[in-house]
Symmetry: C2
Subunit: 275 residues, 2 copies
């Protein structure tokens, strides 16, 4: 396996002679990826752990015969799913995106699917070029659980008032310091984020879905938002408390983290308005 | 743990004295059970294998402090799911069905759920009292797979003509010898069955659902019906062949078995018309 470095490729190929024509230039590939995160240690590659990025880059490296490093729009935690995760990577010139989709879907098994792939403009980076991320969180609010939703919804048997959820969701919209809802990042990093959409939908039959869109999220933010709102929905807090929790800028002021398995990275928006 | 035998109980309790009032009579409990069959070796209890019946009767035996044997409406194979499986068993008089639902759902984990429980008329047996069984089979017909449906739908990337499926489904309705669609049972057992409903529904977005209802099914019959119809839908057979396949009464005349994970026991009908 040769190490593929798009920057180096611009200056001259280090690849073996038989590959040199294929490697004489480089392209950026952008892919939309869906996964069931249940049995992965999250998205980001980690040594000796089964991760989504590890599986995808391993398969890509075999297909492209070059070591591939992925950028991604959202580094989902262990147990979190995705329908619209976006990844990008440099690949040898001449790489056929349609061939990649077909070969990867055959190699990756049923837990990961490549929904589409295309050549992206030079400079495109799935993380830095993203303008907004949308997450969905599903709650199953019924007295008895549903095994077919056990991997994708948080089962809450106690009654939840959907109107209280909807009231609690609104104050998050706008630019706020979400320190009360974020696991602490490196010293000096900001927890100010701009939330563009924050809404609960009653899908019927006890299925409640939260959709939240922001330019970016801090670590575990969506799960903290959901956990706090569900406490309001169950009458353990008042929906009117949300503003004072935001103002406290103290993680202890907000509620418990909702479990990861109800969460899915739904879509990512880029400047060209596609997902 | 005392062995609970409703027949013996009628003659006189063998249970320890402190339990004798609770055991002085017996009731039949009927429960509706849902499960994700992915990680079970089928429904029926087997020594040294994790089965749905094994998990449920194990939990029941702890709650009722008596050994419980389950009857069931349909012995689903390994990997097959259920939304409306019905089970029945004898239990000590005074057993509270609502308490059973609550305690079992706490004990059984996320793969099995007890949807309801009630006292059934004496003589009720989930298997012998059933009048009809309805199964659903889900096919995902898209060029790329969907990880969130990987456990519950058969992914078929090749184009399927829904009209060919619908044409192929109709001839099954009525009383036929389904020998071409059944794994051989014991010598002399009949493979004649009465099919009451056999229809494909296009749910949109590539999701195709087959619903089939019969007084009873023979072993692997639904999966053979689906496998054969999907071959017709893909143009590998003509929908008009179905009648001659039925008449052949030869398993080799029909198509491949569809995989188990697309199949779910959807509901069971009893004389009282409830599921």
């Amino acid at each position: 396996m040769t190490l593929f470095d798009p920057a180096a490729e611009l200056g001259g190929s280090l690849a073996p002679k038989e590959n040199s024509s294929a490697h004489s230039n480089s392209v950026i590939i952008r892919m939309t990826v869906a996964y069931d995160g249940t049995d992965f240690h999250g998205f980001a590659q980690q040594r000796n752990q089964r991760t989504v990025a590890g599986e995808i880059s391993g398969a890509l490296s075999k297909v492209l015969r070059a070591e591939i490093t992925l950028a991604c729009a959202g580094r989902t935690d262990a147990g979190v799913h995705a329908w619209g995760q976006v990844v990008s990577f440099g690949a040898p010139d001449g790489t056929d995106p349609a061939m990649l989709v077909e070969r990867l879907n055959r190699m990756l098994g049923s837990e990961i699917a490549v929904r589409d792939a295309s050549i992206a403009p030079l400079g495109f980076d799935a993380r830095h070029s993203a303008r907004a991320r949308t997450y969905r969180y599903t709650v199953l609010n019924r007295s008895t659980p549903d095994p077919s939703m056990a991997r994708s919804a948080w089962w809450v048997p106690e009654p939840i008032d959907i109107h209280a959820l909807q009231l609690a969701a609104t104050p998050f919209i706008g630019e706020h310091d979400f320190a009360s809802f974020c696991r602490k990042g490196p010293e000096g990093s900001t927890t100010v984020r701009r939330v563009l959409e924050s809404e609960w939908h009653d899908l019927g039959d006890g299925v409640l879905r939260y959709q939240v869109k922001a330019t970016a999220f801090c670590w575990q933010m969506v799960r903290a938002l959901v956990g706090t709102q569900v406490e309001a929905g169950r009458g353990k807090r008042k929906a009117g408390e949300i503003l004072s929790i935001l103002r406290a800028m103290d993680r202890a002021a907000a509620g418990q983290l909702a479990p990861p398995h109800g969460l899915s990275l739904w879509r990512v928006d880029y400047e060209d308005a596609s997902s």
